[in-house]
Symmetry: C2
Subunit: 214 residues, 2 copies
C-alpha cells in the first residue's frame, strides 16, 4: 500500500485560522488560546497528553485515537517547533513538548537554519532545508513503510497542498472566531476541486472536515 | 490503563436486527443480505477484507480503521463462528473466513460443545463454555494488556451487556429494515441509563451510535 501524507487533528477557528498573531515563548498560538482551540481533543480519552484516566469516548475520540495509527514520521514547520526566528542563537531549545514528545517517530523540521539532529525519548528531530517533495521523500524513508503525518502549521500545510503532496486531511473547525492570525483557508470549499470532503458535526461543537484525494 | 471490552462496527437494521432469520451455510446472516448490511464498511479504504486498492477515506473509514487498534483478543458467539447447532459432527468447520481470518489474535468462541483449539495464520480459535465474566478473564489474559473485542452476534452482546461487562459499543445502524431476525435492541435508548450515547449520521446513510460507560 502507498505511504500516505496525512494532516490529522489540525484545528482551525471558524474563520480559518490555525493560530493567532504574535507567537512567543509564552504564547505558542499567539493571541489564540490553545486550551480553547484544542479543548475538543483534550477532553477525549485518547488525547496523547492526557495524564489522568477518564475522558470521553465518543466521536472526537476516534480522531485523537487515530493520531499515531500507522504513522512512521512527522513533518512540521519551524514555527510549530518553536518561537525563534532566523539563525539559532544556541541549540538549547528542544521543542514545546518536554522530555516525552507525543510523536514517537522521526520528526522533520523545515527550516532555513540547520542544526544537528537530537533525540528525546523515542522522538528524533531532524532539521531540513529542502523542497517539500524532497522532505517528503526523506520522511517516507524514515517512516519505514508507514504513513507520514504533516503536523502544520498553516504555512507548512499550504506549501505541501500547493505542491500536490497531501493525500488526506482531517481539520477540526471550532465554532469560535479568531479574527486574525495564520490562515489555513478562506473556506474549506477551496480544496473540493481536488479532494472529496465530508463535513461531520460533533456533539462537542466542533465540525470535523475530512478530505481525501479524488 | 484498564483493558476495555469493546463492540466495534456491529451493524444492525433500522429496526434493531443484527441478522435475519434462518442462518445456514449459504446464508450466514439468514434472510438478511450481508453485502447490503455491511456495504458501508466494504466501501472504505481500511475494510479488512479489501483486496483491491481504493475505497473511501471519510468518516466511515475511521471506524473500519479502528477495528484492530489496540485489540488483543476477540470473544464471539458460536453462531458468528458457524451455522452448526448442537454437538459437532466433526471438526472440519474452521469458521467463515478462509485461511486468513481478519482477527490476527486469539478468538474465544462461546459454545456448550467444546472442541480443540486450532490456528489459521495468526488467529487461534479457542472454544469455551463459561460464564461471560470467566470468558472475559480468559480473553483479557490472552490479550496481554490490550483491549478485547466483543464480536457478536446479538445474543452474545446482550449476554455481556446484561452482565455489565461491556465498556464501549459502536453500532452502525442501517437505513434499511429487516422485519425479523436476531434483535440487538428495540431502541438504542435502552442503554442510555448506563452509557453515554453519541448519534453521528454518516454521509453513507448509516447512523453511527457510539456508547461508553457513564
Amino acid at each position: 500500500m502507498a505511504q500516505l501524507l496525512k494532516v490529522q487533528n489540525f484545528t482551525v477557528s471558524s474563520d480559518g485560522f490555525g493560530a493567532g498573531e504574535g507567537q512567543s515563548l509564552e504564547r505558542p498560538f499567539g493571541h489564540a488560546d490553545p486550551s480553547r482551540l484544542m479543548a475538543w481533543a483534550g477532553a477525549t480519552a485518547s488525547w496523547p497528553n492526557r495524564t489522568e484516566p477518564g475522558g470521553t469516548r465518543g466521536l472526537d475520540d476516534y480522531f485523537t485515537r487515530d493520531f499515531n495509527h500507522n504513522i512512521g514520521a512527522e513533518i512540521m514547520g519551524r514555527n510549530k517547533f518553536g518561537p525563534q526566528r532566523g539563525p539559532w542563537e544556541n541549540h538549547d531549545w528542544q521543542g514545546w513538548w518536554g522530555d516525552e514528545p507525543p510523536f514517537h517517530t522521526p520528526v522533520f523540521v523545515l527550516t532555513h537554519h540547520l542544526r544537528p539532529s537530537f533525540t528525546l525519548s523515542d522522538t528524533t528531530f531532524h532539521f531540513v532545508d529542502d523542497d517539500p517533495a524532497v522532505v517528503l521523500e526523506k520522511a517516507r524513508e524514515a517512516a519505514d513503510g508507514k504513513d507520514v503525518r504533516l503536523g502544520g502549521g498553516t504555512a507548512t500545510i499550504r506549501e505541501f497542498l500547493d505542491a500536490g503532496l497531501v493525500d488526506t486531511l482531517h481539520v477540526a473547525v471550532s465554532p469560535e472566531k479568531l479574527g486574525s492570525g495564520t490562515r489555513l483557508w478562506e473556506s474549506p470549499e477551496e480544496l473540493t476541486d481536488r479532494y472529496h470532503l465530508e463535513v461531520v458535526p460533533s456533539p462537542s461543537g466542533m465540525t470535523h472536515h475530512i478530505f481525501w484525494r479524488k
